[in-house]
Subunit: 212 residues, 2 copies
C-alpha cells in the first residue's frame, strides 16, 4: 500500500494530518517536482491528481476524504468522523465547507496569480487553461466570506464541528494555512479580523499532526 503524494500541496496535507492523528504510517511516494507532477505519474494516472492511494493489488482510491474514510472504516479509533449520526453529519458538513469554500477559494486565487501556474488555471488538466484575472478578486471575496463563516462558527464552538477535534478541523487547518500562500492566512494582517479563527488555529496547529 502506498500514497502518491505532492508533499507541499494542501490536499495531500489533509491526508498527512489525518494519518498522523490516527498513528498510521503509510509509505508516501513523492510525485511532485516543484510545482508540477512528474511525467511518469501523469503517464500512469492521466487524471493527474494527488493524493492517490494504491493498494498492493493495484486498486486505487482517489480524493482525500475517500482515502481518509477508508482508513476510518479500518481503524475507527480515535474517531475523526464522529461517533453518532448528528456529530458525523456536522463533521461532514463543515469538512465539505472547508474544502469547497476554503481550499477551492484560495486555490482560485493562487492558480490565477502564481507565475508557475500560467496556463494551468485548473487542477488535473492536460489542456491549457489560461489564468483569469477576474477570478483573483472573486476568489479573494470567497476567502473572506469563508473566514467570516468559520469565525462565526468558532465563536461558540471549540472546534469547527463542535467540541471535538475532527476531520473538519483537518481540512479547515489546511484551508486557512493555504490562505497564507496568498497573504490571507490567520497570521497575516488579514487574519486580525478573525479572532476566533486565530484562537482555533493556534490550538489545532499545536497538535503534532500539524507538522506531518
Amino acid at each position: 500500500m502506498k500514497i502518491y503524494d505532492w508533499h507541499i500541496a494542501p490536499n495531500p496535507r489533509r491526508v498527512h494530518i489525518y494519518l498522523a492523528e490516527k498513528g498510521l504510517h503509510i509509505p508516501l511516494v513523492e510525485v511532485g517536482e516543484g510545482f508540477v507532477l512528474k511525467q511518469d505519474y501523469r503517464d500512469k494516472f492521466p487524471q493527474a491528481m494527488v493524493p492517490l492511494l494504491e493498494l498492493d493489488d493495484g486498486t486505487t482510491i482517489g480524493e482525500c476524504m475517500a482515502i481518509c474514510r477508508y482508513f476510518e472504516a479500518l481503524h475507527p479509533d480515535p474517531p475523526l468522523f464522529g461517533t453518532d449520526p448528528m456529530s458525523s453529519a456536522q463533521i461532514t458538513c463543515w469538512e465539505n465547507r472547508a474544502n469547497e469554500e476554503g481550499i477551492m477559494a484560495v486555490g482560485e486565487v493562487f492558480r490565477n496569480t502564481h507565475p508557475e501556474f500560467a496556463d494551468r488555471g485548473l487542477p488535473g488538466s492536460a489542456e491549457k487553461i489560461p489564468q483569469n484575472a477576474a477570478l483573483v478578486e472573486r476568489g479573494k471575496a470567497r476567502v473572506n466570506r469563508f473566514f467570516q463563516k468559520i469565525d462565526g462558527q468558532l465563536s461558540n464552538n471549540q472546534f469547527l464541528a463542535g467540541d471535538t477535534y475532527s476531520a473538519a478541523d483537518i481540512t479547515g487547518l489546511c484551508a486557512v494555512d493555504f490562505g497564507g500562500w496568498i497573504e490571507m492566512g490567520p497570521e497575516d494582517k488579514f487574519g486580525e479580523q478573525f479572532p476566533n479563527v486565530r484562537r482555533w488555529h493556534k490550538e489545532v496547529s499545536s497538535r503534532p499532526s500539524a507538522k506531518a
Copy 2:
C-alpha cells in the same frame, strides 16, 4: 423535521433522489421563487444555501451529502454509501468527483451565462459577483472532461462506483441532467460522444427515484 428546498435546483435533487431510494418522506419547504431564494429564508439563514435539514429542536444540517449520510446512519437499508471499506471509498470518491467535476462545472457555465444570474456568479453570496465570460469556455472544457472521465469509468462498470447503484449515481445523474441545462446533457448532440454515459443514464433515469 423538514428540509428547506429549491425544487428545480440540482443540489436539492441529490437529496430528493436519495430519500426516494430510501423510501423516506421528509416534509419539503419550498424556499425558491423562480431563480431566487425567498427573502424570509435568506433572513433566517444568511448562508442562503439549499438544501438545509432542520430538526424539530432547531438544529440544522447543511450540505447534501451531510444530510444524506445522516439519514444513512439512521436508516442503513438499502445501503447507498457502500457495505465495506472499499465499496464505501469508491462511492465517496466518485460521488465527490460527480459533484466537484460535474455539478460545479455545469454550474460555472450556467451561472455565467443565464440572464437570471447576472451579478450572481457564485452561489450563496450576498455581495454582487459579476458574470465572467471566460468561465463559460473553461466550464465547458471541464464538463467535457467530466463526461470523458465517467464514460471511461462506465465502460467497465455498470454503475459509477462499481456494480451496485449508490450515492455516486445519484450525484452523477444530477450532474449530467444539469448538463442538459447548457445543452451538454446525455440526450443532447454533445452526449452522442459518450455511449457508456448514455447507457447508464437510461438505466438510472428509469428508476422511480429519478422523478422525485
